[in-house]
């Protein structure tokens, strides 16, 4: 009977996702895009894909930053469609996933306020959140003051975590505590939403979102240690104790200065070159990050094989769409900077395997 209900609940959503999944860029398209002559040629090629409607603006206005902003609209539309078609009791999780972009926007606005940026400077750095947003970016920026901006967020899901961090901002004049507070709150809420699910939805969401949380948490711990040189107690407080494969002991090992290679190879035995990458972690960490994202992408792709009537299908598609946008961003910026394919290809998540 559970299967019957699932079919009833997910059939429309599944049809929509399948139809959209078929419009994702193919291996052949990635290959062509990577070898585009320059940024203009790349945008012309993209105008032949599913991103075409978003790129129909004057070429002169289509700077690399604007192009990235435009293609992100595709993801915004995708989220809108999927959230509206997701069974009501599970919409919250997808909405929470969507909140990541809202948090990124909030961070960008706070940075804009701290640096005294204008709306025109900030505008196209933001994710185009036309749906489900509680932020009023222009108004927030116009306050010109972090404390006033936080006050303006009263009644939103972000106020509480920011209000705790505000005292530290006032004394340290650094946005770091505000940003970490937002990130931690986001991950906790996402985890809670996953744990509210049951049956196949829970299994699939745990596999996909849990893996994503694992990767984020591991990278946080490693970055705090390698780049920020934070103390053990700070790293522990700035990470989360839950995950799918990553255990709290793993995070604590990293925080305590233990062997990062051992942790990564225990969690992801099939990940290549971990030892050599972490021999010089300052240099190897960015590549390890890409390897881990590819692992998440692979988890998402495998979701499309097998029984399809569960929440995993839309979640996997949304993460894959995000990786596609991330890769396109790398590609657009690389082409604008005139980089050859062999330099930027290792930084692609979905578009890398087609040498």
């Amino acid at each position: 009977m559970a299967n019957v209900t699932a079919v009833q609940e997910y059939a429309v959503l599944h049809a929509i996702v399948r139809a959209r999944y078929s419009t994702m860029l193919t291996a052949a398209t990635w290959e062509t895009l990577c070898h585009a002559r320059d940024c203009n040629a790349l945008l012309s090629m993209l105008a032949e894909t599913v991103y075409a409607p978003y790129l129909q603006i004057d070429r002169e206005e289509l700077t690399p930053r604007r192009a990235v902003y435009q293609i992100k609209k595709h993801l915004a539309d995708t989220y809108n469609t999927i959230i509206q078609s997701t069974p009501e009791s599970r919409q919250h999780l997808v909405l929470q996933l969507w909140r990541l972009y809202e948090i990124d926007n909030l961070k960008a606005i706070l940075r804009g306020i701290a640096t005294g940026a204008t709306w025109e400077q900030v505008r196209y750095v933001l994710f185009p959140l036309s749906y489900f947003t509680v932020l009023r970016p222009e108004e927030l920026l116009r306050t010109g003051n972090v404390n006033a901006a936080v006050e303006l967020l009263r009644g939103t899901p972000y106020y509480e975590s920011l209000s705790y961090a505000l005292e530290r901002y006032t004394t340290e004049r650094s946005l770091f505590p505000l940003e970490v507070a937002l990130d931690l709150d986001y991950l906790r809420a996402l985890w809670d939403d996953v744990n509210r699910l049951s049956g196949e939805d829970y299994q699939q969401a745990m596999r996909i979102i849990g893996t994503q949380i694992d990767v984020t948490n591991l990278l946080w711990a490693m970055r705090y240690r390698v780049y920020h040189h934070l103390s053990e107690e700070e790293i522990i407080n700035y990470t989360v104790p839950f995950g799918y494969k990553v255990r709290d002991e793993d995070i604590r090992t990293i925080a305590a200065g233990g062997d990062m290679t051992q942790v990564i190879t225990r969690c992801y035995p099939d990940l290549p070159d971990v030892r050599s990458l972490l021999r010089e972690p300052q240099r190897g960490l960015p590549e390890l990050e890409i390897q881990l994202q590819r692992y998440v992408a692979k988890q998402c792709q495998t979701t499309f094989v097998g029984y399809p009537f569960h929440l995993g299908i839309p979640l996997a598609y949304l993460l894959l769409s995000e990786f596609e946008i991330q890769d396109l961003t790398v590609l657009i910026e690389a082409k604008a900077a005139g980089m050859p394919a062999e330099v930027f290809k290792p930084h692609l998540v979905l578009g890398w395997a087609h040498n």
Binding site: A15, T32, S161, R168, S231, E232
Partner: protein
């Protein structure tokens, strides 16, 4: 109907004195979709003091100030009064003075109120943190000057408490949760002074905000709490006095503020509309899109409000994609549910076939094939009729689905006659065509043929879209264009010839192979050909080798797509068989419950049929949608069009 409503671009050159009257008319008519042509303004004009951009910003700022005042005085926005349909711009300086005056009048009260509320919150926080320590006979200030210990009393997110404990695992410490409510915790953290650094770092990174009492609060917790409570009482009285004062202002200023708000809002909207016009010395250039059949009427009315207006209308050819023509779908109301299904997938572009009528034909057809039953179809038809009539109150919310359910039910009934099935009973009516359960291979074959026909309609739509866009390259050698059609039919011919050699097909397998080869080569060079025809250079964006590898994979993908798309339609036959099977199961179950055909028999039969109509009907509906989206639309429909949103000032204001 198959194409979006024809649109005409109109360019109006309007004398400066008439610009507001013209804007008012355009807004009243509600057919003008404006286009931003502000970049055509002369630089001197766009930088002038009488700039509409500045006016719009000024109105917006004033509107925010009025809204702030209204919020402070608890004044509702209400609705705009009817006379606001006449656009009269409010004088910025005058209204600014009025707002300054009102602000001054209530600023002192509001500032006092805000400060009082903040102070009250602060005092309540002290109480909240100190209450758990009540009856302790220690001086709170002594906690700050312990000799061998460090003590931190403060408030933190409750979610962080466990993590804080984990982070202190290597040192001796005591963490007492004194209070925990609404995801916040009051804690007392005590540790050795030698570990002060670790304790402070851990507390800070766990967002533990220590209690910082002002110097005038001294003594034991009980003494401080008593002093703070007295302060709270005074503050509450002060706030109450301010609120009474605000209520008085609410009564005297509410009406005035509401009127100001709506006049400012309308003025801002007008200014925002005019900002998008082009300013040339003493005239304005207004550009926008109007449905072609409304242009003449609009032009006449525009001439009436501005005798010196110059109007130029231009109806574009559909293939010029760069014009971003807005799409207005003009389907009859009963096709709206199908239109909704189409726009869920994507909004049609102007130079693109609107698939709504096709969907209205194919959706019920596919549904009917899968769900053919006179009884089940009739129930659905009745339900659809009921939904359309909107007579049943509880079903009104589903009213929009009425035509879709009605049509699907009607076609299902028709197929029920063809299958000879009434509520799953197959002995009452003769089958006018075949019984799916007894002719499984026949129904599967027929549905594959139907699928092939639908795919070919998709190909034809692709050709029509390519024709409309004058995209001859893709028209000729596109994978869904002529080359694609030839390849598809050559492969079909080859397969039929191989597996049914007795069928009288005039062409040999060799000819089919040859045709497939030629079409395949055309598809491989689709990109080159379309670049060549469109005059785009270079012909190859990347190297020839890369192009060939990519084209080969694309051809392979096309072949797989043809196969999977065609076979996908087998599900129509499979569902028709399943429908018959499921209905038979219902009667077998009914027979088991009551072999003598008593009340149990009819109860199970009725319930079973209800489940079939509700549950199987839903699944069949969804499978139909999947076939439409995935197999049919993917052949020709791109979407991504801009919807037609005409200027309607007052209704926008109400929104």
């Amino acid at each position: 109907m198959f194409l979006p409503q024809a649109m005409t671009e109109i360019e109006l050159v309007v004398p400066e004195k008439d610009v507001l009257a013209v804007t008012e008319l355009l807004a009243e008519q509600g057919v003008f979709h404006p286009v931003d042509v502000s970049h055509l303004s002369l630089e001197a004009e766009s930088g002038s003091e009488d700039n509409w951009q500045q006016r719009s910003a000024a109105y917006s700022a004033l509107e925010r100030r009025v809204l702030t005042l209204m919020k402070t005085l608890n004044v509702e926005e209400g609705q705009p009064s009817p006379e606001l349909a006449k656009l009269q711009l409010i004088d910025i300086d005058l209204v600014s003075l009025t707002i300054d005056h009102i602000e001054q009048e209530i600023q002192e009260i509001t500032r006092d109120l805000e400060q009082g509320q903040k102070r009250l919150e602060q005092l309540q926080r002290y109480i909240y943190q100190l209450e758990p320590l009540m009856h302790l006979d220690i001086d709170i200030s002594a906690l700050r000057s312990l000799r061998y210990l460090v003590a931190l009393l403060g408030i933190m997110p409750a979610d962080n408490v466990e993590r804080l404990r984990t982070s202190l695992i290597h040192i001796p410490y005591v963490l007492l949760i004194l209070r925990e409510e609404n995801r916040q915790a009051v804690v007392l953290l005590v540790g050795a002074r030698r570990d002060a650094g670790i304790l402070e770092r851990a507390a800070r990174s766990a967002y533990l905000n220590p209690l910082k009492l002002p110097d005038d609060y001294r003594g034991t917790p009980d003494q401080i709490i008593a002093a703070v409570r007295a302060g709270i009482k005074r503050m509450e009285q002060h706030i109450a006095d301010q609120k009474v004062e605000i209520e008085r202002r609410h009564n005297t200023l509410g009406r005035q503020l509401r009127a100001l708000l709506w006049r400012l809002r309308i003025s801002r909207m007008v200014a925002e509309a005019v900002v998008r016009y082009g300013k040339r010395h003493y005239t304005y250039l207004i550009v926008g899109w109007v449905p072609t059949d409304r242009v003449e009427n609009l032009s006449q009315q525009l001439h009436q409000v501005s005798s010196a207006i110059f109007i130029e209308a231009r109806t574009p050819v559909r293939h010029n994609e760069n014009q971003n023509v807005p799409t207005s779908l003009n389907n009859p109301p009963f096709l709206r549910p199908f239109q909704q299904l189409v726009t869920n997938y994507g909004y049609p572009r102007y130079a693109e076939i609107d698939p709504t009528p096709l969907m209205a034909l194919t959706y019920p057809l596919i549904f009917g094939i899968m769900f053919g039953d006179v009884g089940h179809g009739a129930v659905m038809t009745l339900l659809g009729g009921l939904l359309i009539s909107r007579r049943v109150k509880v079903l009104r919310g589903l009213g929009d689905l009425g035509p879709l359910i009605f049509l699907c039910g009607l076609v299902a009934t028709l197929f029920g006659f063809l299958y000879g099935s009434v509520f799953g009973l197959e002995h009452i009516l003769p089958a006018l065509w075949l019984r799916p359960l007894r002719n499984i291979s026949d129904i599967l074959l027929v549905t594959v043929i139907t699928g092939t026909a639908l795919l070919n309609i998709g190909f034809l739509c692709y050709l029509a879209n390519a024709w409309l866009a004058r995209d001859w390259g893709h028209f000729i050698s596109g994978r869904n264009g002529i080359a694609g059609i030839v390849l598809y039919w050559a492969l079909v011919g080859f397969v039929v010839k191989t597996f049914a050699p007795n069928l009288p097909i005039p062409l040999s397998s060799t000819i089919f192979g040859l045709l497939a080869g030629i079409a395949g080569i055309a598809i491989v060079f689709e990109g080159v050909l379309s670049n060549w025809i469109a005059g785009r250079r270079p012909l190859l964006e990347s190297g020839f080798g890369t192009y060939l590898v990519q084209a080969f994979f694309e051809l392979f993908e096309t072949l797989l797509g043809f196969l999977s798309n065609t076979l996908s339609y087998v599900r129509m036959g499979a569902f028709a068989v399943a429908h018959g099977g499921l209905s038979a199961v219902v009667f077998i179950l009914a027979e088991m419950v009551s072999p003598s055909h008593g009340i149990g028999y009819w109860l199970v039969a009725a319930l079973g049929n209800l489940v079939i109509i509700g549950f199987e009907g839903l699944i069949v509906g969804i499978q139909t949608l999947r076939l439409e989206y995935y197999e049919f639309f993917s052949k020709f429909f791109t979407g991504g069009g801009a919807s037609y949103t005409p200027l309607k000032l007052l209704s926008q204001a109400k929104e």
